[in-house]
C-alpha cells in the first residue's frame, strides 16, 4: 500500500528582504515527501488558496495542493487536526518553526498532542518505511546522526540537515491546481492581540579562545562545547528537572 504522506507548508519570509517565499524548512518537508511518496504526496496549507507563494511549492513538481481556506487570524492547529483525523495518514512532515507569524515551533507538538501521535524533531532523513515502522535519522549537532525507529503514524519536523529543496519550476507551479477545502476555524485571539515589532539584535556572548596554535584554534572552533557547569539529569523527578531549568534561567537573567 502506498504511503499516505502529508507535508505541511506555510508562507515563509526571506530573512534579508522580509518578502514572502517558500519557507526553507517547509520546502525540505516537501522534498522529503516527494522522495517518499512522489506525486502521491499531499501538500497541505492553511490560509489563502490564492497566495502566489503556494505556486513556488507546487513548482517542485506537484500536480496539486490542498488548502484549508482560512483567514490569517485563525489558529491553524485545530483546523489541521480535524482534517488529518479524517484521513488515514502515515507521516506528517513539517518545518521546525515557521518563518513568519508566531514562529513558536509549537505546531508539530500541539498537533501531535491533539492527534495522540509521537513527534520526531529535527529529522535529517527518513531512510525506509517497512511494516508500519519508519527508520528515521535525526540530525544532531556537528553532522552527527541518530538512527531511530518509529511506529506510524507520526509527525516529523525537518532539520536543516535534510535534503535541500529542489528548484521550483515556474511553469509547473503555474499549472498546478489548488484544491480549496472549506473548514471551520477559530480565531486565535492571543495571536491577534499581539503586536509585531522589529527584533533587537541580541548581544553575542563572547567566547574567549586561548588557543596559541592553528591546530588548537581549529579544535576550539569545531569541538563540542564542553559546558563546564552543565549537568545531565536523568534520574531526578520532573519537578527537580524543572527546578534546575528555572534556576538556570534566573541565573542567566532570562527571567527576573
Amino acid at each position: 500500500m502506498p504511503l499516505n504522506i502529508v507535508s505541511l507548508v506555510s508562507v515563509g519570509r526571506h530573512p534579508q528582504s522580509g518578502r514572502a517565499r517558500r519557507a526553507e524548512q517547509d520546502s525540505r518537508a516537501v522534498e522529503l515527501g516527494l522522495k517518499l511518496a512522489d506525486t502521491a504526496l499531499t501538500v497541505l496549507h492553511v490560509g489563502n488558496p490564492d497566495d502566489p507563494i503556494l505556486r513556488q511549492y507546487a513548482g517542485m513538481g506537484l500536480p496539486s495542493l490542498t488548502v484549508l481556506k482560512q483567514e490569517d487570524s485563525v489558529d491553524a492547529v485545530p483546523v489541521l487536526q480535524r482534517f488529518l483525523e479524517q484521513k488515514n495518514i502515515d507521516i506528517v512532515l513539517t518545518g521546525v518553526r515557521a518563518e513568519s507569524g508566531e514562529s513558536s515551533g509549537m505546531v508539530p507538538y500541539l498537533l501531535a498532542h491533539a492527534l495522540g501521535w509521537p513527534v520526531v524533531a529535527r529529522v535529517a532523513d527518513i531512510v525506509a518505511v517497512k511494516d508500519g515502522k519508519a527508520e528515521v535519522l535525526l540530525a544532531l549537532p556537528r553532522g552527527q546522526r541518530r538512527a531511530v525507529s518509529i511506529q506510524l503514524p507520526f509527525i516529523a519536523s525537518m532539520d536543516h540537515a535534510a535534503e535541500a529543496a529542489r528548484q521550483s519550476a515556474f511553469a509547473v507551479g503555474l499549472r498546478a491546481t489548488v484544491e480549496s477545502v472549506e473548514s471551520v476555524g477559530e480565531v486565535d485571539q492571543i495571536r491577534v492581540d499581539w503586536q509585531e515589532s522589529v527584533a533587537k539584535i541580541r548581544p553575542k556572548r563572547l567566547k574567549t579562545v586561548k588557543a596559541k596554535t592553528a591546530a588548537e584554534r581549529f579544535k576550539a572552533a569545531t569541538a563540542k562545547p564542553e559546558g563546564g557547569t552543565g549537568k545531565v539529569m536523568k534520574n531526578e523527578t520532573p519537578k527537580e528537572k524543572a527546578r534546575a531549568i528555572f534556576d538556570l534561567l534566573l541565573e542567566e537573567k532570562v527571567i527576573r
Partner: protein
C-alpha cells in the same frame, strides 16, 4: 550529342525531383510554430540581403567571398541558361555563348573552392562537403561540352556513343548534387534554405546595417515554456538551422568550444537539423562537442525527431549551459543564423518547465526572486556603497538630467570602485545626476539568460514602473548587461512608453558610461592629463560591442589620454568573451581551460601592462586570473587617475 532529347529529359527529371524535395523540406519547417513574416517584402528584399548583408559578412574572408561569388553567380546564371537552352531548346548563339562564359566563371570559382579543400582547416565539415567542389567542377565541365555545339563552336551531332554516355553520367551526377541534393538534404541545401532564410529571417532589422540583439519575450502561461521539441521553435528558426553551410566560422570563434566545454555552435545547429528532419547525427562530418558525459563525443548516439524532447537524447543540457551568450557565433555566421536565440529558448524549457538550472543557478534565481539581487543581500543595503558619495535620490529630486543606473555592482566591493570613479567624473563635469537608490532592482539580465523569463519580465515591469515615476532624459550605466536590457529588451514591456517617450515625450536615451564620458570629454567638460603608464590594450565587452555596436567611445576615451591602444588580434566585433556572460560563471560547466585565462593570454600577447575594460563582470573575470598578469581597470578608473581637479 547523339541522343538529342536525353539531356533535356534528364534535366527536367531532376528539376521535378528538386521541386518535390523543396515542398517536402518546406513542410518540415512548417512543423514549427507560426510567426508572422512579410513574405512578399522578404522575397523582394532577398537579392539586396544576399548581395549586401550576407556578402558583407563573407567579405571578411576575401578568398572565400570571391570564390563564392564566382561559383554561385556562375551557377545561378548557368542554371537559368541551361533551362532555356537545353530544356526549352531556345536556339540562340548568344544565349549559348553566355552560358559558356558563366560556366567558365563557375569553373574558375570551383577550382579555388577545391583548392581550399586540399588542406581544409579543422572548422570545415568534411564528408559530403569534400565532394561538393568536384560536383561543381563536373557540372561546369559537362555543360560546357554539352553547349559547345550550340554555340557553333563544334558541329551539331559531334561525339560518339561514348561521349554521350560520359556526358549523361556527368549530367546525372552533377545535377543530383546541384538540384536534387539542394532540397533533399545535400550540401547544396544551404543555397535553397539559405535564400529563404534570408527572405524570412526572424530579425529583419539586422539587414541594411541594423542591429537586433534583444531576446524575444517568452510567452508565459501556454502549454510549454521555451523550446522542448524542435516543433516548438518558430518555423523560420527551423528554416534558419537548415541554412547552415557548416563553414565552422562559429566554431572557430566560440570561447566555450576553445575552452573544451561541451559546446560547438556548428554541431548544435546541425543537431537542430537532425531534430527537425529526424534521425541521428551519424552523418555529421565536423568537429564534435569537445567534451561531454559518457560517449557524447561519439557520433551516431544523438537521436532526434520533430516531436522528441531535445534534451532527452539529442543534446545534453550541459551543451546549452556552456554558452556565454557572447554572440561571437552570430556575428561570424555568414548565413546569419541566430544561435543564441535557440540556446536561450531551450534553456527556458529547462528552467521554467524542468526546474533544472545547473549548479548555483537555482539558488541565484531564488535570490533574485526574493531579494531582487542575485546574491540575496538585503535590498535595504543596496545604496550603502554610496553613503559617502552625496548622490541625490530620484525620490527626493523627482527630476534630473541623468539617471545613473547603478546595477548590482552596488553590492560588490570591486565594482563599487568603478561606480565611485564614475561618480567622481560626473561630479567633476557638474552633471545633474540622481540614482534610484533602493528603488532600483536587478535588471533581470542573469535571470533571462538562465532561462527564467518569468522573473525577467517581472523585474522589467517593476523597474519600468519605478522609472515611470521620474523625469530624466538619459539613463547611464557602467554595466553593459543592464545597458543591453534597458536599451534593447525593456521595450517589449514598456507599455506606458516610459523609455520610448520618457517624461519629456522625446524618449529616453540609454547610454553606456563610456559613451557618456566620451561626450563629456568631447564637450571639454573633463580636463584630463596624458596617461604616462606603459602599454595599454582594450577588451571589448560582448554586451557593449557585439550587442550594442559601441566600439568607438571606449577607444576614443583612451586616445584622449594619449594612449595608443595595443589592439589584440581578437578585438572589436571579433573580441573574445571574458567568460562572464550568460550566467556561465553560475552554471559553471567544466572544460579543459577557463575562458578568462584564454582571454588573459590574448591580452598578455600584446605586451600590455594594463587592460582597460568597460564592464564590471569582465573586470571580475579577468582579475580572477592568477598573477602575474596585466592590471585590469575600468575606463572610468583610468580616466579618474588622469583627472585634473580644478581648485575653486
Amino acid at each position: 550529342m547523339v541522343i538529342d532529347w536525353l539531356p533535356s529529359v534528364l534535366i527536367t527529371t531532376l528539376l521535378v525531383l528538386a521541386v518535390v524535395g523543396g515542398v517536402r523540406r518546406a513542410n518540415l519547417w512548417r512543423a514549427g510554430q507560426p510567426e508572422k513574416v512579410n513574405i512578399v517584402a522578404g522575397l523582394l528584399a532577398l537579392p539586396r540581403r544576399y548581395l549586401q548583408d550576407l556578402h558583407h559578412v563573407v567579405e571578411r574572408d576575401k578568398y572565400m567571398s570571391r570564390s563564392h561569388v564566382a561559383t554561385a553567380g556562375g551557377f545561378v546564371l548557368s542554371m537559368i541558361l541551361v533551362i532555356l537552352v537545353h530544356v526549352f531548346g531556345v536556339s540562340s548563339q548568344l544565349l549559348a555563348g553566355a552560358l559558356l562564359v558563366s560556366l567558365v566563371l563557375m569553373f574558375v570559382g570551383a577550382l579555388f573552392i577545391a583548392k581550399r579543400r586540399l588542406h581544409p582547416p579543422s572548422r570545415l565539415s568534411k564528408g559530403p562537403w569534400m565532394r561538393l567542389p568536384k560536383s561543381l567542377l563536373m557540372f561546369s565541365l559537362t555543360f560546357f561540352v554539352l553547349t559547345l555545339p550550340m554555340a557553333d563552336i563544334l558541329p551539331e551531332g559531334t561525339g560518339s556513343w561514348l561521349l554521350t554516355l560520359v556526358l549523361s553520367i556527368g549530367i546525372v551526377l552533377s545535377l543530383s548534387e546541384m538540384l536534387f541534393g539542394m532540397t533533399w538534404g545535400g550540401p547544396m541545401k544551404h543555397a535553397f534554405a539559405g535564400a529563404l532564410h534570408l527572405a524570412f529571417h526572424r530579425r529583419p532589422e539586422r539587414f541594411g546595417g541594423g542591429r537586433s540583439t534583444g531576446l524575444k519575450p517568452a510567452v508565459l502561461g501556454g502549454d510549454v515554456h521555451g523550446v522542448a521539441k524542435p516543433s516548438d521553435f518558430k518555423w523560420n528558426q527551423l528554416l534558419g538551422f537548415d541554412a547552415c553551410v557548416q563553414c565552422g566560422k562559429c566554431e572557430a570563434m566560440c570561447p566555450a568550444f576553445a575552452a573544451g566545454q561541451p559546446l560547438n555552435p556548428k554541431k548544435l545547429i546541425q543537431d537542430m537539423v537532425v531534430g527537425l528532419a529526424g534521425g541521428t547525427d551519424a552523418n555529421y562530418a565536423g568537429s564534435p562537442y569537445p567534451a561531454g558525459k559518457g560517449d557524447a563525443k561519439v557520433l551516431g548516439n544523438a537521436k532526434g525527431g520533430i516531436d522528441n524532447v531535445i534534451t532527452a537524447g539529442l543534446i545534453d543540457a550541459d551543451t546549452l549551459w556552456s554558452c556565454t551568450t557572447c554572440r561571437a557565433c552570430v556575428e561570424e555566421c555568414p548565413m546569419m543564423i541566430e544561435h543564441v536565440d535557440a540556446i536561450v529558448d531551450m534553456r527556458r524549457f529547462l528552467t521554467m518547465e524542468k526546474g533544472k538550472t545547473p549548479n548555483k543557478g537555482a539558488e541565484i534565481l531564488e535570490n533574485i526572486i526574493a531579494t531582487d539581487n542575485p546574491n540575496g543581500y538585503a535590498p535595504a543595503s543596496r545604496t550603502h556603497w554610496a553613503a559617502d558619495q552625496n548622490l541625490p535620490l530620484m525620490k527626493q529630486k523627482q527630476t534630473a538630467e541623468v539617471l545613473f543606473w547603478v546595477s548590482d555592482g552596488a553590492f560588490d566591493m570591486r565594482s563599487q570602485r568603478i561606480l565611485r570613479a564614475f561618480v567622481a567624473l560626473m561630479k567633476a563635469a557638474n552633471v545633474d545626476v540622481a540614482i534610484l537608490g533602493d528603488e532600483e532592482l536587478d535588471c533581470g539580465d542573469v535571470a533571462r539568460r538562465l532561462g527564467d523569463d518569468a522573473t525577467f519580465q517581472q523585474l522589467a515591469t517593476r523597474n519600468l514602473a519605478t522609472l515611470g515615476k521620474y523625469k530624466f532624459s538619459k539613463i547611464v550605466t557602467t554595466d553593459p548587461h543592464a545597458y543591453h536590457c534597458l536599451r534593447n529588451e525593456y521595450g517589449d514591456f514598456d507599455v506606458d512608453g516610459v523609455l520610448s517617450k520618457g517624461g519629456s515625450g522625446q524618449g529616453v536615451e540609454v547610454l553606456h558610461h563610456t559613451t557618456f564620458l566620451n561626450q563629456l570629454v568631447q564637450q571639454g567638460l573633463l580636463k584630463l592629463s596624458a596617461f604616462k603608464g606603459g602599454k595599454v590594450t582594450y577588451h571589448d565587452p560582448c554586451y557593449l560591442g557585439r550587442y550594442n555596436g559601441e566600439y568607438e567611445a571606449p577607444r576614443a576615451l583612451l586616445e584622449s589620454l594619449g594612449i595608443e591602444i595595443a589592439e589584440m588580434e581578437r578585438s572589436a566585433f571579433r573580441s573574445r568573451c571574458c567568460g562572464g556572460g550568460g550566467g556561465a560563471p553560475i552554471t559553471d560547466i567544466p572544460g579543459e581551460r577557463r575562458i578568462a585565462d584564454m582571454r588573459m593570454e590574448d591580452i598578455t600577447q600584446t605586451g600590455a601592462e594594463l587592460v582597460a575594460v568597460g564592464c564590471q563582470q569582465c573586470t571580475a573575470m579577468l582579475e580572477g586570473v592568477v598573477e602575474p598578469r596585466p592590471v585590469v581597470k575600468d575606463i572610468a578608473e583610468i580616466l579618474l587617475g588622469q583627472l585634473i581637479e580644478e581648485v575653486h
